[in-house]
Structure formats: structure tokens, C-alpha cells
Symmetry: C3
Subunit: 254 residues, 3 copies
């Protein structure tokens, strides 16, 4: 992929975000993209290739938003970027569906083979479609030259926190490489007063501020702005046997 970019757009500044997404784990990749793209310049071009459906009818797309242009398979990788723009799929947790992108976005299916590498493989579109497309965009090729406009995008229905009097109920939506459990509960979701957090059969009293505030399991607001469960200097997911989708309860104990 980098060779293709270097061949087409030798002056492009190529930055790796991560190569550690587990194979085929589109949700993990979507989270990585969703928590990093805003820290890049608004004119950055993001290439994301977690692509288990490569070669099938899933569409290759390029999407220009108000904060970044994305080149990737249309398989849910943009779920968090789409959610940031206020568009949500009304479905059960992590099911896949289609949503209309915000009116100010430009979304294209990549169909113009002139911008691809040939011979085209059916198993590595990262090299043959996504990278060369991104490089041509970096060179100034207009988006509308790449293919045909699309009116919907694939997205996971991201689980939404629920609130009952005195309790916020969220889910584990990501497990990072330290084993920390990242939830979908923002500070605004949490009830007032002293808090008790319940997850995977454990009870945690109160919110910590840093990973060093306890020698035992703790909860804090992490760098993505949501509640996170961690074991200082250890792997919380492994220690608790916790998994993606596990529910997390935060009770007010006032």
C-alpha cells in the first residue's frame, strides 16, 4: 500500500495509526478510526482497510466530511464518524444497517478503474483500490471523478446507554491493547452524587482520576471521554473475563 502511494503521490506524508487491529475485526477498526480522526488536520485523507469482505459486492467508497476524507470499504468502518455527525441507526446493539450521510458530506462509490492498480486482485483492495485512490485524492483529483454518488452508508447500530432513576446502564464497546474496558458512558450520562460501578460481577466504589489511584480495579473517564474500567499495571479484560457488549451499571449511592 505504501509503495503504491509513494509511486503516485511521492510527496504525501503517510502516517500509520495502527496495524494492530485483530484480523477481520471491523468494529475494533471503526473504534480506532472514530477516536483518532479528529486529531488529524481536516484535510487529511484516511485510508482504512479492515476488509473481510474484500472482492465481494461490498462497495469501496470515498467520503468527504467536514473533518477528513475517508477511503475504505463500506462495511461499518465509518460507524463512529457517522455517529459523531449525529446520524444514528435505530437497531439493536452492533447490528449492521444503512444510514443516509449528513447532507454536507460527499459520498462516492469507487467505480472509476482508471484510478486503481491493475491487474486488480480480488483479495487485496487496500493495495489495488484504496491506496491508489487516496494518493490520487492527495494529488488533487476531485472526488466526483472517482465514481458514482451514493445516498446511504453502512453503519453498525452503536449501543446507546440507557438511564433509569439513579442508574446509568452502558456497554463495553471496545477493549484496548492494555486490556482496559472502554464503555459508551460519557460523564453526562452518569447520575449525580457518589457512584458505584458494577461490571462483570465486580463492584467499584467511586470514580478514580488516574490509573495509579488504586492498586485494585478502578473506573475513570478515559481519553476518549467515556467511562473506562482498568486494573493498574494489569489487563482488566483478562482478569475479569469481560467481553465486548458486557453491560456496565453506574448507580448513584447518594
Amino acid at each position: 500500500m505504501k509503495g503504491v502511494i509513494a509511486s503516485i503521490a511521492p510527496d504525501a506524508n503517510v502516517v500509520d495509526i495502527t496495524h494492530d487491529v485483530p484480523p477481520q475485526d471491523v468494529r475494533h477498526g471503526a473504534y480506532a478510526l472514530g477516536t483518532t480522526y479528529r486529531y488529524f488536520p481536516a484535510d487529511a485523507i484516511h485510508v482504512a482497510v479492515i476488509d473481510p469482505g474484500v472482492g465481494t459486492r461490498r462497495r469501496p467508497i470515498a467520503v468527504r466530511t467536514s473533518h477528513g476524507t475517508f477511503v475504505c470499504p463500506d462495511n461499518g468502518l465509518l460507524s463512529y464518524v457517522i455517529a459523531d455527525a449525529g446520524t444514528r441507526l435505530q437497531r439493536d446493539a452492533f447490528e449492521m444497517g444503512r444510514v443516509a450521510p449528513p447532507a454536507e458530506w460527499q459520498a462516492y462509490q469507487l467505480t472509476n478503474e482508471e484510478y486503481w492498480v491493475h491487474p486488480l486482485s480480488s483479495t487485496f483492495h487496500g493495495r489495488d483500490i484504496f491506496s491508489p485512490t487516496a494518493a490520487h485524492l492527495a494529488n488533487g483529483v476531485p472526488l466526483h471523478d472517482l465514481g458514482v454518488s451514493v445516498i446511504d452508508l453502512s453503519a453498525f447500530a452503536l449501543p446507546q446507554p440507557r438511564e433509569v432513576p439513579g442508574t446509568a446502564i452502558g456497554q463495553v464497546i471496545h477493549i484496548d491493547r492494555f486490556g482496559n474496558l472502554i464503555t459508551n458512558l460519557r460523564r453526562a450520562h452518569l447520575p449525580a452524587g457518589p457512584l458505584r460501578i458494577r461490571v462483570a460481577g465486580q463492584v467499584i466504589e467511586g470514580l478514580a482520576k488516574t490509573y495509579q489511584d488504586s492498586v485494585d480495579i478502578l473506573a475513570l473517564i478515559g481519553s476518549g471521554g467515556t467511562l473506562e474500567i482498568a486494573f493498574p499495571n494489569a489487563n482488566a479484560a483478562r482478569s475479569l473475563g469481560a467481553s465486548l457488549g458486557d453491560s456496565v451499571h453506574v448507580d448513584s449511592v447518594r
Copy 2:
């Protein structure tokens, strides 16, 4: 290595291909190099350091080809690049030997210590010989200044497919990080008609086009242009107990 390059050639654009080659696995590194170099610009300088023999009499070399300049130990890392140029070693599978490079290539043993980092270690020539040499080449130092011309290069004898009436017989020559089994069988090697693939005691009927065409083991032509055995969303090498060198039979069942 990158610090050395940044010190000598600060404007060089350094691109990582992979740091995931298993330690000491020269054949794995040779495959990675052989399947990527053509996607880089023809004037790219490739530094490859899988170097279990570092400090021994194996020669450090720089080789300019019609598609890229290579700086590496002379230990077989260029086997696929050499084979692409039509030069083959007539030996049994994966044995090492020496071949004459194509007439239009320039091949030099690195002997001019002026272009090395000092004090020279005996265990990290990636830092002390290969990186500084590549950086000086990027700065325009001519190849013939680096050392003495050589007339042969080390190469693995890459296993060649055989054909008997109605059947092509190949080998597993690489296992990628997804566990897919990559063979040396190109489409042109395969017999005509409906196909049956036999590998590691398994039988696969027909060629798939994508990894999603089956929920079970499948065979397809991969991104390197050769037959590949894969398990959708799983690790074929581990599931089948398959290894490098395993034979793969493709029968015509017409």
C-alpha cells in the same frame, strides 16, 4: 537504523514495509520483499535486514536492478527478485546456492568503510552498514563507490511447480499473518476445467473468488497472483496443521 538515515539523508522518505518477519526467517523476508518491491517507484532503495549471519563472512551487498536498488546481506533475501528477472537456481526446494545476476544489474559487495557507522558492531549491520549505505545512495553516491563488483549472488532454489497430465503439483511457499497458505501455483499452471485442490489431507472443490465465498476451507488466486488456501475468518495453517513446503495438488475433474 532510522536515526542513522535521518542523520545522513534528512530528506529521505522512509517507508516501513514490515517489522513482523519472524526472527531469523530469511525465506519469509525474501517473500515479503519479492511481493512488494514492484509496487514502489523504480528508483526506490530497499533496505532488508533479516540477518542471522550478521558479522560472519556473508557479504553485505548493494544491487541495482531495473526496478529498485537493494541493500542487504547476501543471504537469499533477493531470491524472488532474482527469480523475477528470469534467473533460477537448479536445486532442490529452498536449498541455497549462487547465481549470476542479470547482465543489466549492478551488484557490489560493500567494502568501503567510509560509508559505514563507526565503531562498527559485529551484531547490528542494519544500523552500521545497511542503513548508512542506503542513505548515502539516496544522497547520490554512485554504487561503484561502495565497494567491489560481484559476479554472483546467493539465492534459494525456489520450488518449481510440476505438471502431470490433468494435475498441477505445487508447494506452500509462504504462510501470511492471517494463516493463509500461499503456493507457487500461478493460474497458468492450473489444468483446464473444473478443479479439485488437495492439501494437507483436505479436498477443496473448485476455485473461489473471495474469502467470503465459503464458510469452510477454500482456494483462490491471491493478491500475489498464486493459488492460496484460506479459512474464512480463521487461520488455515493452524486449522490444517500445514507447513511451509507442503505439497498442493490441483486436479482437473472435467
Copy 3:
């Protein structure tokens, strides 16, 4: 972190040294930094974020030395850089303490929030403090604008070799990704004459020059300039059950 740098200093040349430091292992990170920084240009800015104490009272710092500027938490990551400058903490092995930096260094605690990313998280200062600070330094912001001068820095007391007549006694101070045991014994520490090395219950006769000089366990002077114990094509730490801090004896057998 790279997005933040790209946003503030788009022309900066960002180089990855390693992302393979085990989580929370400050000593490992300190060694990686201590053995690489001298190979970079003297005006390079090094960002090091092994930061288990993120969000606590540990200070974020920027330190300009005669060979590189370092932006990192003040948690011992600079121990080897400080030792290279001749400043040593007189304590037992690997204990933490504070030392005065050399007079010609400039050391600042980062307190000027103008150069940080906001909202500031309490768990990812790599993104919110260290990266933007490094990017502003690359843009020419003077060090003294970043915060307040400090007069001491945290450092591990690096274990020092001892010598008794005929024997040098050192420690394993690092285990690299190949499993090689790196010690603190430089060639100058070793006694004269033929040598016998004792480590983890094993005895090795003589010094090798390369990893191929034996099919069994061997000792040689590694690329960092110190004695190293290795198993050719295998993992010495795992084979010997050796750990950080293990003692290594080198006897003269003349």
C-alpha cells in the same frame, strides 16, 4: 499523537523508534531510548511515552541536551541519557531517585497549557501534552516558554559492574525481542586473558564474535557495546529462565 503533530507541525519528519515496549515497562523504554538517541541528529526531538503514572503528580518535562531534546514524563525514562552525561545516582540497583542534570542542559517542567491539546484527558498525555509540545518545539517555540525550569530529574540507579581480582560481576539490564540477555559489562570491565562467563547456572567458555560462532549458548559484545548472552536462532531468556537483574560473572581463566 501523530495526528496532533501533523496538525501543529505538518512538515515535521516523524520517526517511530519502537511501539513494542511492554505496557508500563519504564526501564525497557529507558533502555530503548538510551541506545538509540545518539544515532539521531543532535537537533532531533524525542517523544517518549511509557507513562504508567499519567495524570498523577509525576511531572511532564522537556529537556534539551547536547545531543537531542527529550519530551516525556519525569519517571526515569531518561536514566540512560543522564548516565551517558556522567551523572549517576548512588543507590541500589534500579531504585528510583533524583539527580541534578548536567549544567549545560536545559530542563523544564511543562506547565504552559497554551501548548497542550484541550480538553486535557487525565489518561493520555502522550496525545494531549507530549506530542503537541514536541510539535511546537519543532516549530521553533523556545524551551523556556513551555514551563518552569527544574533543578532535578528522576532517574533509576543503574546497576554498576563490580570487579574482584580476576572476575567482573555485572547484571542483566535488558532483554531484547530476540530473548538476548544484555548486560552492563563493557569490554573495558572484562578481565584480561581467556574468559569464562557464568550466568543463570550456565558456563560459557570464551567470547564469540557473531551469533553464528556456536550452535549452543554464547556470549559476545553486542551492538550497544556491552556483553550479551544469546542462543543462536533461539530465545536465551526463555531457554535459561533468566530475568532482568540476574548477575553475570566473567572470570579470567588465564
